[in-house]
């Protein structure tokens, strides 16, 4: 071993940047700009007062002297920093979170002493059914079980399909894969009727069940494919080591399937989080989720961008956190070293 290592010439020549690498970098930068510009625009707009949003573009946000007189700093000789302070506000977020729908702002209305309709002017307004605050909580209540349940069930099913021998295994799997083509709209009426019979329409379990049912075929399909790529030897070795199916599943398959589970979790989470149709049909206005609330803002306020941008940003927050938290699983190749290759 040592002689082999010694005979290897040690070469540490610096690699020159290849042209293709520069091309890649330029491409990535272009895509980044394409993605980031609208996002930054959304973010900047969401912090601007209504009067400015309606008159000037977000890219002029740092030009403190434009826009209508009502939006100008009262003292024309104030410093740039002072002027800049009046050009940004968190009122949009406050209004969106509390669900304030008046002509001014929630803070101004409360400060003037006249309580806006249905508001208490205290922390309890965050749970106002018309606000994004409440919708955020509802969205979380909908999304977390709707992500965990189908994956949990699919994991067991996928293990069985991939590594347990039973009659009709391929037939059942084929049916499951086939089920993926059923359009969601087709099932709305029958499921709605069924849920009505069970008396769970308009409750969270209804949405959990629906999302679980709809998430399962794809989840099983994906996890089975991922599990069946694990080398057979690993399983046989574990059986010889004395493991039963549960122990193999728990100690070998689960850790090695983590990247697949993570990516599946992200997809399912995003799908449920961004879903409007299912929550509209099964929850409606009784327990509004964020997508439902955003759609309400558009329809009821037409050009109420200030609320829309803030609400949109609020609804983006959690998906972004989830993605950044789990993204390493996309990159990491856990299988390296399992089998000589």
């Amino acid at each position: 071993m040592t002689t082999a290592a010694l005979s290897k010439p040690i070469s540490k020549t610096k690699k020159h940047r290849e042209p293709s690498k520069i091309g890649t970098t330029i491409g990535i930068v272009l895509i980044l700009i394409l993605w980031l510009v609208p996002t930054v625009g959304l973010l900047v707009t969401s912090f601007r007062p209504v009067a400015l949003i309606n008159t000037t573009g977000w890219w002029t946000a740092l030009d403190v002297d434009n826009g209508p007189a009502s939006a100008q700093h009262p003292d024309p000789n104030a410093s740039y920093a002072e002027k800049l302070g009046t050009r940004f506000t968190i009122d949009n977020y406050v209004d969106a979170l509390t669900g304030y729908r008046g002509t001014g702002t929630y803070r101004a209305a409360c400060a003037s002493g006249t309580k806006p309709l249905g508001m208490n002017c205290n922390i309890s307004d965050l749970l106002n059914p018309r606000g994004m605050g409440r919708a955020f909580v509802n969205s979380i209540i909908v999304t977390i079980p709707s992500t965990i349940l189908p994956i949990l069930i699919a994991l067991f099913a996928a293990y069985a399909f991939a590594w347990m021998d039973f009659k009709g295994r391929y037939a059942i799997f084929a049916v499951l894969v086939g089920l993926q083509v059923v359009p969601i709209q087709m099932t709305l009426v029958p499921v709605l009727r069924m849920f009505a019979g069970m008396g769970i329409n308009g409750t969270f379990p209804a949405v959990w069940l629906f999302h679980t049912g709809f998430g399962l075929p794809y989840a099983i399909y994906m996890l089975r494919n991922s599990m069946s790529t694990l080398p057979k030897d690993l399983f046989e070795s574990a059986y010889l080591d004395g493991a039963n199916h549960w122990q193999v599943f728990n100690r070998i398959v689960l850790p090695l399937t983590t990247p697949a589970i993570a990516s599946l979790a992200i997809f399912q989470f995003l799908w449920v989080w961004n879903d409007l149709l299912v929550s509209l049909v099964f929850l409606g206005g009784q327990r509004p989720v964020m997508t439902y609330q955003i759609s309400n803002m558009v329809s009821s306020l037409g050009a109420g961008w200030h609320l829309l941008t803030a609400a949109a940003f609020l609804s983006m927050l959690l998906p972004m956190i989830v993605f950044f938290a789990l993204q390493k699983y996309f990159v990491r190749g856990m299988m390296a070293g399992a089998v000589k290759g």
Binding site: M1, A4, P231, D233, L234, E236, S237, A238, Y239, L240, D241, G242, A243, N244, Q247, R251, I252, P255, L256, M334, M335, A336, G337, A338, V339, K340
Partner: protein
């Protein structure tokens, strides 16, 4: 420590017969090597013993217990896989301790066993690493380590060296032999490499097409192959075969090979009475064809005129690819031999050591005529 017995074991996959009526008695503490070309059923036979395949018919016994319906984990065997099958997400320590943890041994005992096995194999320094941080040779050791911590009755090896480079393979071969002596346990080892079989085995079972061809010690297998397949499979370069005929002229027996004939030594003549005037296959190993200049004096030498086609100098010997008529064959001669392409020369066949196979008894795999080993 245990004996293993295969009793009339069959394994079929649909219509395909993988193992055909295998009878094999493996003694306690034996190092048995199952060898054969790929697809000969050797790995299937091993997997049947491990319990990873159900047997179609027959019985497999460990000691005196029939284990057909015993779960793999209850057979008290450990297996080293060709791919090593290390758990990629566990450290070397956890890989080795996995089976012990599942068997609910206490922590101190597990630790003692793992450390001890690691020391035996010289991998103490690697215990904290993950498999992907190991070289091929180190992974192979860990795989062996994972088997020996369990202290099983029987060790199974499924081509454990095939992923190593040539040098490491030679080294590991010796280590496995040493390990076998130290552990004093039954080893069953599957390989397609006859060199591995010859160097490590206490007995070799040669398999082909699902059938056991011969079971014996390496030396007997080499000197007295039962049939054409074993004769050709064991030994490298392989034995030379010539189609010919046994004839008797004026009381002397010859093997007539068309373009030349060799005389059968007198004391061998009774053995070949049964094949006189019949088509036979004559076999002689490359090392039994000598350059007359350097041939040992005691052999019964039969001269043959040949043309040299190719010479391969190995340092300690020379392989000569020779032509006589339509016969091509290889000789393994003394390195002082000075010949080159196109030369004519005379070589001598050592008629102390040759084999005659009778295709009329089995055209697929002719058995040896008058062999000393009996079924």
């Amino acid at each position: 420590m245990a004996s293993v017995t295969y009793k009339n074991v069959w394994k079929k996959y649909g219509d395909v017969i993988a193992v055909q009526d295998l009878n094999l008695a493996i003694e306690d503490k034996e190092f048995l090597v199952l060898v054969g070309p790929s697809g000969c059923g050797k790995t299937t036979a091993l997997r049947c013993l491990a319990g990873l395949e159900e047997i179609t018919q027959g019985e497999v016994l460990i000691d005196d217990q029939v284990v057909n319906d015993v779960a793999p984990k209850d057979r008290d065997i450990a297996m080293v896989f060709q791919s090593y099958a290390l758990y990629p997400h566990m450290s070397v320590y956890d890989n080795m301790a996995f089976g012990l943890k599942l068997r609910k041994l206490d922590k101190a005992d597990i630790d003692r066993r793992v450390q001890e096995s690691a020391r035996t194999l010289g991998i103490e320094g690697l215990l904290k690493r993950k498999p992907k941080e190991l070289s091929g040779g180190q992974r192979q050791r860990v795989a062996v380590g994972r088997a020996i911590v369990r202290e099983p009755k029987v060790f199974l090896f499924d081509e454990p060296l095939s992923n190593l480079d040539a040098k490491l393979r030679v080294q590991t071969r010796a280590e496995l032999s040493k390990l076998h002596q130290r552990l004093e346990t039954t080893f069953i080892y599957v390989t397609h490499d006859q060199t591995e079989a010859m160097t490590m085995a206490s007995r070799i079972a040669v398999m082909n097409k699902g059938l056991l061809q011969q079971l014996d010690t390496p030396q007997v297998l080499y000197d007295h192959p039962n049939n054409l397949f074993v004769a050709g499979f064991i030994g490298s370069p392989a034995m030379n075969f010539f189609n010919g005929k046994v004839i008797v002229e004026e009381g002397t027996m010859y093997i007539d090979l068309g373009s030349f004939r060799v005389k059968v030594p007198e004391h061998d003549m009774p053995r070949y009475d049964s094949v006189i005037d019949k088509e036979i296959i004559f076999g002689i190993r490359p090392e039994d064809i000598h350059n007359p200049e350097f041939a040992p004096p005691s052999i019964i030498a039969e001269p043959v005129e040949v043309n040299v086609d190719v010479t391969e100098l190995m340092g300690n010997e020379i392989f000569l690819y020779l032509i006589n008529g339509n016969h091509n064959f290889i000789a393994r001669v003394d390195p002082r031999t000075q010949v080159s392409f196109g030369d004519k020369m005379t070589v001598v066949f050592n008629m102390d050591n040759y084999h005659i196979f009778d295709p009329s008894l089995d055209p697929e795999n002719p058995p040896v005529v008058g062999g000393i080993t009996k079924e």
